[in-house]
């Protein structure tokens, strides 16, 4: 019995650190919170052309290249009579919306909100939020949308994805992708369907 007691005591003592200063790291200094900013992709305010770069990605042309200023007809360059040439790569699969539902007809470099207020392309998320309320709320709370950086804003900043980085504005449903290769496990868990 005494042996048993001694063993129990020994095990009980074994829980903590012999050097208690090793249990925790240093406390984080209460630095002012770093920002959590939204990344604005360059694809905003540009349209894909049929041309490809060396990586095979479509070459974009800024809207302002042709639509140089306010006014529906303010086109300085290009094929005025044939807008299909520039916009032909766009497949519009967004809830049956027409171009002007989002794009500002009096200035093609801009977007407009539901009340007609004009906004810059970079502010597009305000426009998305008008129809997609629950997603916008979840985004604000950090529960929707990818991010990189720090969970602890005392220690570093965080960069949030913009809506259009995952949802192409003209066809927002993300396409199917090929998954990354799986692990070659000794144990296949659970049993494969094919077995």
């Amino acid at each position: 019995m005494p042996l048993f007691t001694a063993l129990t005591l020994l095990l009980a003592c074994d829980q903590g650190f012999v050097d208690p200063s090793r249990e925790y790291g240093p406390p984080v200094a209460d630095a002012p919170a770093k920002v959590s900013r939204v990344h604005v992709p360059t694809s905003l305010g540009a349209v894909d052309t049929p041309r490809r770069d060396i990586h095979g990605a479509p070459i974009g042309v800024s809207c302002a290249t042709c639509h140089a200023g306010p006014g529906e007809d303010a086109i300085v360059v290009g094929d005025e009579g044939n807008p299909e040439q520039m916009h032909g790569t766009i497949e519009l699969l967004h809830g049956g919306l027409a171009c002007d539902a989002c794009h500002e007809p009096t200035d093609r470099r801009l977007l407009h909100l539901a009340d007609g207020a004009k906004i810059e392309m970079a502010e597009a998320m305000k426009l998305c939020a008008q129809c997609h309320g629950p997603q916008a709320r979840d985004y604000q709370k950090g529960a929707h949308g990818g991010m990189t950086g720090y969970w602890d804003l005392r220690q570093g900043e965080r960069v949030r994805n913009h809506c259009v980085e995952c949802h192409a504005p003209h066809s927002p449903k993300p396409p199917q992708v090929q998954p990354a290769p799986r692990a070659v496990d000794r144990v296949v868990f659970p049993a494969s369907e094919t077995h």
Binding site: R22, G25, P190
Partner: protein, 300 residues
């Protein structure tokens, strides 16, 4: 006379047996692995190391990685941040099963290249089914497939962890910030913990991991992603070498759908708290009483 001779015989027999037993006891020394140093053999349990001991161990392990893999790495003893309790949640409504998380884990945590190991397994299950046993992990068609849902599974960092209680030598334990860790130098590789884990979250190093020097992630911690020896257990540590320095886990950063939410559950303004308070979250196999820190939720 007769008696004496019997005694002599017995003595001789005893000596033979003794020699055989001695030889047997010493056999492991004959099979002493070349890469096992005396320092490593005599190394104490992680919690029994003083700061100075720890520094010596870290420098030795860095040297070993250089000798064995040709890679210059930094191994730190990254300790928990006071007043932080980690939690992780995953949105099953948006996960598409792309395995980008598993791939990021593979790279971040210096997994064996040949087996493409990762601490994350993504289950593909029929829509509306909760029968995980009918799910598959070896799909390779384009995702998301119509009529299928995806459920990534990794260590749930249980507060009542069965893997911890079964370990016969306390080589695995729960840290103050909630992460369950393994001392790879203390583990004897009995695999009890692997059998005990209801989420199948532990991996065993059947082989010495093979990783080209230029692919080794040099930012390492003793309790997480340093290259593991052969014959020991390993598991997800919520990337403690990143998260204990305030950074997001590698799998979260890699997720293209934003399905993953990570943070400090003690901070009332954190994203993870908002999810726990406002979404219908659930844990896997709740009935087992493991009390996971990994939560699943749906948008609707």
């Amino acid at each position: 006379m007769e008696d004496t001779s019997r005694r002599t015989t017995l003595k001789a027999l005893g000596a033979t047996l003794g020699a055989a037993a001695f030889a047997r006891a010493m056999a492991p020394l004959a099979a002493w692995p070349e890469d096992l140093s005396i320092d490593e053999l005599l190394q104490r349990h992680y919690k029994e190391l003083s700061r100075d001991d720890m520094v010596r161990v870290l420098r030795r392990l860095e040297q070993e990685t250089l000798d064995q893999y040709g890679a210059v790495v930094t191994i730190d003893d990254v300790r928990p941040i006071p007043e932080v309790q980690f939690g992780y949640a995953l949105n099953l409504s948006v996960c598409v099963g792309c395995r980008k998380c598993a791939e990021a884990c593979h790279v971040e945590n210096n997994h064996d290249r040949a087996t493409n190991q990762s601490y994350i397994r993504v289950l593909e299950i029929k829509n509306g089914s909760v029968d995980l046993a009918m799910g598959t992990v070896d799909y390779d068609h384009a995702v998301p497939k119509k009529g299928r849902s995806y459920m990534p599974v990794q260590c749930h960092q249980c507060d009542n962890a069965p893997c911890v209680s079964v370990c016969p030598i306390e080589a695995t334990w729960k840290e103050p910030d909630g992460i369950v860790v393994v001392d790879y130098n203390w583990c004897i590789g009995c695999r009890y913990c692997e059998a005990a884990c209801p989420y199948h979250a532990r991996r065993f190093n059947w082989h010495k991991p093979e990783i080209p020097a230029e692919e080794i992630n040099p930012d390492q911690a003793y309790l997480s992603n340093r290259v593991r020896p052969q014959g020991v257990m390993e598991k997800c540590t919520f990337c403690l070498h990143r998260t204990r320095k305030g950074r997001l886990p590698a799998c979260l950063e890699a997720c293209p759908t934003g399905a993953r939410v990570f943070g400090n559950m003690l901070d009332p303004n954190s994203e993870i708290r908002w999810v726990l308070e406002n979404k219908r979250t659930f844990v896997l196999k709740e009935d087992l009483g493991t009390r996971p820190r990994f939560f699943y939720f749906f948008d609707k």
